[in-house]
């Protein structure tokens, strides 16, 4: 077993396909449970020597019980609860939910509402990708990138606030429309700001490709094959960076995505560096789509009045959230409250792939690789480690791990 492992560790950087037959009998990414690991709430990383051989996820720390609560709340009230599933892709959640419900109703969604939904969804994508690029800078030890990107990101949040009234939880989507219209006089200002964002993104794209601090920590790190991603049902920029042209906006268009031209961004192989390129290029595409939508917005109402009762039936709907396919399933028994609402977030879909990407890497690469799939903050706060040979067990906060990584790569920074 040890020999196979050493060989596979060498192969790690060249190919990761077939690497994780760690439990040789089946293809699932996790090994057997280790009795030494008692702390419940931590992501556990098992090390052999320097290298990670296994990762055991535990994600109950954000579980609040939304799906059950949704069965006891009216349809409209659930919008405000589900958008708070995640602060970063909150509009995607509300949009996927209302879309699933709308298809059970026999109304036609107003055209203007479709365009406004597209604009806000793409603004959210930009804010999320910029947030992520900044975080990558932070975790990789390039603090300046983090500060500069988040400063520019504020401009996007200004636009969101002007449209929705809030920066994070926009509460804009409602059943059969959006709650607010975009005031026409503000549109030229939005376009100007978005064009500025594009110039900044071009600058950051250059930084990502030339800055040695970043390259040394991201190139060749966190590789995974396209085949393995498909097997593990991964979604979002992760699969597009691997070359798989899958995007809900293009494959199964919703809102105004049928009416607004979109360039699909793909790369030819996943590592953290390509993921950075992928997301930055997606920001540029999003800006173009928003400008097009703002310039071609059809007139008309932005919402319809609908009764609070949804006819009997069930439906599934998905949207392309910033992190990937966000899937909602709703079932109605004809009443004022849902019978069932099921949410599958893109982070959950990508988690097996993320853990697979970690294997074979050293501890110093963990923050960069984990951040690479764009997970929730919480995942990084709680990490425990087991050294299989010495049976040594220890816990680090995310910050301690980050510092470890920086000092490992840049020992001159050690104080």
């Amino acid at each position: 077993m040890h020999d196979t492992f050493d060989k596979t560790v060498q192969d790690r950087k060249e190919t990761s396909a077939g690497l994780m037959q760690y439990s040789a009998e089946n293809l699932v990414p996790f090994g057997p449970i280790h009795p030494a690991l008692k702390e419940p709430e931590y992501f556990k990383l098992i090390l052999e020597g320097e290298r990670i051989v296994d990762v055991i996820p535990r994600i109950g720390y954000v579980h609040r019980g939304l799906e059950k609560a949704a069965e006891q709340r009216p349809w409209i009230q659930n919008i405000y609860m589900f958008e708070r599933t995640c602060g970063i892709c909150s509009f995607a959640h509300s949009m996927a939910y209302v879309q699933a419900v709308e298809e059970l109703l026999l109304y036609k969604l107003p055209e203007r509402a479709k365009f406004i939904r597209l604009v806000v969804a793409e603004l959210e994508r930009i804010h999320s990708h910029l947030l992520w690029i900044g975080l990558m800078g932070h975790w990789a030890g390039f603090e300046t990138l983090f500060m500069w990107v988040w400063k520019d990101r504020e401009i996007v949040l200004d636009i969101v606030e002007a449209i929705a009234g809030n920066r994070i939880h926009k509460s804009l989507a409602t059943i059969e429309g959006v709650k607010r219209d975009i005031p026409e006089p503000l549109i030229p200002g939005f376009i100007e700001r978005l064009k500025y964002i594009t110039t900044r993104v071009h600058y950051y794209r250059n930084v990502v490709d030339t800055e040695s601090t970043l390259l040394i920590r991201t190139e060749g790190i966190g590789k995974i094959s396209a085949d393995r991603l498909e097997q593990l049902c991964a979604v979002g920029p992760l699969v597009r960076a691997a070359g798989i042209p899958r995007d809900v906006r293009r494959d199964d268009p919703y809102a105004a995505y049928n009416d607004v031209p979109m360039d699909l961004v793909t790369k030819s192989g996943v590592d953290i560096h390509t993921l950075m390129q992928q997301r930055l290029d997606e920001v540029v595409v999003s800006v173009n789509m928003i400008i097009y939508a703002l310039e071609h917005m059809p007139p008309g109402p932005v919402k319809l009045r609908v009764p609070p009762v949804v006819p009997k039936g069930e439906n599934a709907s998905h949207v392309e959230a910033p992190r990937g396919e966000l899937f909602y399933f709703v079932k109605s028994n004809g009443g004022r409250m849902p019978e069932r609402v099921k949410v599958r977030t893109p982070t959950l879909a990508n988690l097996p792939s993320a853990l697979e990407m970690l294997k074979g890497h050293t501890l110093a690469d963990v923050p960069v690789v984990l951040t690479g799939i764009d997970p929730c903050f919480g995942c990084m706060d709680r990490l425990s480690f087991l050294d299989r040979d010495s049976q040594k067990l220890w816990r680090w906060s995310g910050e301690e791990l980050r510092q470890y990584g920086i000092h490992h790569y840049f020992p001159e920074r050690k104080k």
Partner: protein
Amino acid sequence: MARRMRHTVETSAVDLFTLIEKKLSPANAKRETGSDRLLVLRVPQDQIIASLKLLTEELGLKHLSTITGLDIGDSIELNYQFWHSDRIVDIKTSISKTAPRVETCTPVIPGAVLYEMEVHDMFGVTFEGHPWMDRKLLLPDNYPKDLPPPLLKGTSSEKIRKAVGIEK
């Protein structure tokens, strides 16, 4: 019945649904009401793995979006939901509420590993052959063993809150 109003249906999509239905007919698949964009097929429990194999290996529908559990009163419904191009395909099966066990589909679809754990947590379904059935993904560690799983209709939120120590 759900109506999708995004864009016009292409006949090739209708053919896809017919093709799937035909392919899965040896597994006793029965079509239920969906829409022009949502295919719903129900198979008996003992045919679920065979059906998933046919779908993924012979028809190329590899992307499983999720596995949705549903308490439909006298049984638990498992809904394996696939996304293919601009269609969604639901393969449903019903399993006993008193002895909720079904074979794991992870050898066929490794990506289902966490979805099965979620259904296990929420509905108490045991996926035989899944490596982690004695482990929780989402529920707190102090969720009592004798309390029914949360998403069964009979389990009340108040009871859970008291049992896990949120309320006295």
